[in-house]
């Protein structure tokens, strides 16, 4: 059987971010894959060391283009823990609200990308149209569709007045109806299922071997979620379900992410109803006493780890960012083994790679 080497990336319709994947295929079946990343590497971990803590909040926000708020949350929590600051409850609620809104926006964006890769342009258009509801809310709240600049060290910079909260709740209802439509497509639409069932399967054992996190792990039966296991911000005051599936293929991941969006929507409603009064931020000193902190959050793609070491000056000695896409990339070679060429974009989309995160 003749072997063809198919280059996917760094520029390719199936990739929205630069990633180079060399696939060796026999006929339509992939036998080998070589991965090369680093095209979006900006050396952020070095830049962190040359900016002070206040500046770094905005540099951290630009590690990832989609889940920027969760990065600033993890970073600010770390620095607040080093400073021993007591963040006011209203700030924690607002911070959590933005985290969940961002999760819905990230999952809807991902659903659109997956639909576009399997040729379902209608669902791509619908997913990105309904995602605008969430983006508009975030833009009206914080001033930025994606880079929100909401978090500061010691609290948040935005506030919600009651009747604006009321208008958000109204918009949540038709957002929920739209997500129900997507759930319907995933459960009933025949061609969607035919293209996603049994594709890119990862067993629980493979997930544990490659330390994969987030919806990809939950879709293979691993019940882990930082919001419940290591609650941060206001997650300990919310009750929500962690969605777990067992098939471990692209279809299961779609189910997990879409159901998670519905859960996030319920959490946003709880947050808005139980929003406590009080100050928005606490004044934070510019110099951080020497120490180190490991701050973990649940990004839309999984466990996000920030290690910050301070040396007493106003600049961090070291900020290490481990984004959830890195282990997912490690497990990619297992998923790409012996699959059909036509399924490569589906598998790539199924894992929901955020290359800017992985490259930093």
């Amino acid at each position: 059987m003749s072997r063809i080497t198919i280059p996917i990336g760094p520029q390719h319709p199936a990739l929205k971010e630069p990633l180079s994947l060399k696939l060796v295929a026999e006929g339509e079946r992939i036998v080998e894959s070589a991965l090369r990343i680093g095209y979006a590497h900006r050396g952020l971990e070095r830049i962190f060391q040359n900016r002070n803590y206040v500046q770094n909040v905005h540099v951290v926000e630009r590690v990832c283009g989609i889940c920027s708020h969760v990065h600033t949350t993890a970073y600010c929590q770390g620095v607040e823990a080093l400073l021993g600051l007591e963040v006011p409850p209203r700030a924690l609620y607002l911070r959590t609200l933005l985290c969940e809104l961002e999760r819905i926006h990230s999952h809807l964006l991902w659903l659109g990308v997956l639909a576009e890769h399997i040729g379902f342009t209608t669902i791509f258009m619908y997913a990105w149209r309904d995602r605008e509801i969430v983006l508009d809310i975030m833009e009206e709240l914080s001033g930025g569709r994606v880079a929100h600049a909401v978090n500061v060290i010691g609290g948040v910079r935005i506030d919600i007045d009651p009747e604006y909260a009321h208008s958000i709740l109204a918009r949540f209802d038709d957002l929920e109806r739209q997500i129900e439509v997507f759930l319907g497509v995933i459960l009933h639409e025949r061609t969607f299922q035919v293209r996603t069932h049994g594709i890119g399967r990862l067993t629980a054992e493979q997930v544990r071997r490659y330390c994969v996190v987030g919806p990809v792990a939950r879709a293979s039966g691993i019940d882990v979620d930082m919001r419940r296991d290591a609650p941060y911000a206001a997650y300990d005051q919310l009750d929500f379900r962690v969605i777990v599936a067992h098939e471990g293929d692209v279809w299961a991941r779609t189910m997990v992410r879409t159901m998670e969006s519905v859960e996030s929507l319920q959490m946003c409603r709880q947050l808005l109803h139980a929003m406590p009064e009080g100050p928005l931020a606490v004044r934070a000193p510019r110099r951080v006493p020497p120490g180190e902190v490991v701050s973990r959050c649940e990004a839309p793609r999984g466990e996000l780890v920030y290690y910050i070491r301070s040396d007493g000056s106003d600049r961090p000695a070291r900020v290490k960012v481990r984004t959830p896409t890195l282990p997912a990339l490690a497990a990619l070679s297992e998923q790409l083994q012996d699959i059909n060429i036509a399924d490569v974009p589906t598998v790539l989309a199924g894992v929901d790679l955020c290359i800017a995160c992985a490259d930093r």
């Binding site: 833009e139 001033g143 880079a147």
Partner: protein
């Protein structure tokens, strides 16, 4: 039967979309309504407020602000719009609320020099 229903699953949503109003905003031919909170052009509320303390310059993550100071009275605040990320940190760090972000969309430009702008020109004897 279930197969037929699963083959025509999207029809109800198609009908709803057909009747609903189009979502495309035809920017730049139609105006893009920006919320009040939108972080747009960096402007000075009042040039007199700026004391030239440089707190904004120190906290700007993109190093987009520069203070050229001869002495207490003669200083210039320069804003490099080609580096600015519109994060709003300068507005936060400014103790006298001189520098703020309007919600006016900053249109792109091809000549990089036009993006360098002197925000504050503080020389009391010349302005009289």
């Amino acid at each position: 039967m279930p197969l037929l229903r699963s083959l025509a699953h999207l029809l109800t949503e198609l009908r709803r979309t057909l009747l609903a109003e189009r979502v495309t905003v035809q920017f730049p031919f139609a105006p893009a309504e920006l919320p009040a909170e939108f972080r747009g052009r960096v402007i000075l509320t009042d040039e007199a407020l700026c004391k030239g303390c440089g707190l904004c310059v120190r906290d700007c993550p993109a190093l987009a602000l520069e203070l050229e100071r001869q002495d207490r009275e003669h200083f210039r605040l320069i804003h490099y719009r080609d580096r600015c990320a519109y994060c709003g940190q300068c507005a936060d760090s400014c103790p006298s609320h001189a520098i703020v972000l309007s919600n006016e969309l900053v249109s792109p430009s091809q000549e990089r020099d036009t993006l360098t702008q002197v925000l504050v020109e503080h020389a009391p004897d010349s302005t009289g």
